[in-house]
């Protein structure tokens, strides 16, 4: 039971941890000052959410958030590959569309978690919703506009969509022992969340020509396994950078 809870919490936390980390790569490098500032807030929020999720485990006597984040073997992470992807070529279309797919997913996931039978999770999800509300507002305001703007913007968004599509789908890979989690009332099935996610993003993406048929199983396959400890090819470099300072003096305080 505790193992299932740990899997669930780590999934939630690890997703936010690296999403925040990837967003933070843009701080000081954004397309315009005002957006640089806004996106930096989103990066901080996600990182803070990760810390709050880990804290649920810490409160049960398990390691601290810093230990969860900075001291784990790659195969013990449960993050989706989507959040491990680099900011390819510093293309803001990729950054925005990933943020769009991810925060639509968060909206749907958090809403479900507010009804979780596991009370600490339900309470936390309720608190996090106010920040996620902003993330979703930010994401859809940008994508709606860019999608209707110039040919170049649309071209970039299409390319970003093609790159991110199977990874976005893989967000809904069922968790290990998901049936037991569903039974316990902790979370609805991933399939349900995926349907809600479609209902949320299709009306936005379709009118601006960014909708697409589902990825084929061969497109999807490399993105799967994340919830079972399989990392993307990008993880090692990501985590080496993430832990460069903390690992230099492992037992030190910073």
């Amino acid at each position: 039971m505790l193992e299932n809870l740990q899997t669930l919490i780590l999934t939630l936390a690890d997703d936010d941890l690296f999403m925040g980390h990837r967003h933070a790569e843009w701080i000081g490098l954004g397309p315009i000052l005002e957006e640089d500032i806004a996106f930096a807030s989103i990066a901080q929020d996600e990182t803070g959410h990760a810390q709050a999720y880990y804290q649920i485990l810490t409160d049960l006597g398990l390691p601290s958030p810093d230990e969860w984040a900075f001291r784990r073997e790659p195969q013990n992470f449960r993050c989706a590959h989507l959040v491990e992807l680099p900011n390819f070529d510093y293309d803001y279309a990729v950054a925005l569309l990933r943020h769009f797919f991810y925060d639509a997913f968060e909206k749907v996931r958090l809403q479900a978690l507010t009804r979780s039978a596991y009370e600490p999770l339900a309470l936390l999800a309720k608190r996090l919703q106010s920040e996620e509300k902003y993330h979703w507002l930010h994401a859809r305001t940008w994508v709606e506009r860019l999608g209707r703007s110039t040919e170049e913007a649309h071209r970039r968004l299409l390319a970003a969509r093609d790159l991110l599509w199977p990874y976005a789908w893989a967000l809904f890979e069922p968790l290990p022992n998901e049936a037991e989690m569903v039974e316990a009332g902790w979370i609805p099935p991933s399939q349900t969340l995926q349907e809600e996610w479609f209902a949320l993003i299709q009306p936005i993406l379709e009118p601006i020509g960014l909708w697409k048929e589902p990825p084929s199983s061969s497109e999807l396959a490399p993105c799967l396994g994340a919830r079972y400890g399989q990392r993307s090819p990008y993880f090692d470099q990501l985590y080496a950078e993430f832990t460069e300072v903390s690992a230099s003096e492992p037992d030190a305080d910073w």
């Binding site: 005002e34 957006e35 500032i37 806004a38 510093y90 305001t141």
Partner: protein, 126 residues
Amino acid sequence: MSSLDPRIQRAEPRLSQITEVQLEPLDHWPIYEVFVQRTRGGHAQHVGSLHAPDPDLALVLAKEQYARRSQCVALWVVPTEAILWTSAEDEDLFQPATDKSYREPQGYLNTRERLEKYRDRLKPIS
């Protein structure tokens, strides 16, 4: 370029290929003025301006630049272009030329005195 910042390293080779940048007018979008209402019951107050392409994004972006730390219950944005203002030369328009204490509480400090005098006159001479 071998930067100490891995983020900058990852922006190569494109980063070093950009040698000259010239921004045209309005490249950074038009300007909006921002008002924040800090508490329920308070006035919305001007706090600054920002560059945005349209009102919705102006609101979205203003939220973080002007309300990420400060207490805020509501946020307004207005295109600067829509605002009219009085000129500095006309600051004297706000100076009253004559005594207008008739419309201020301190214009009525002597009322009590009149009443006292009247009551004194009415007192029987003993």
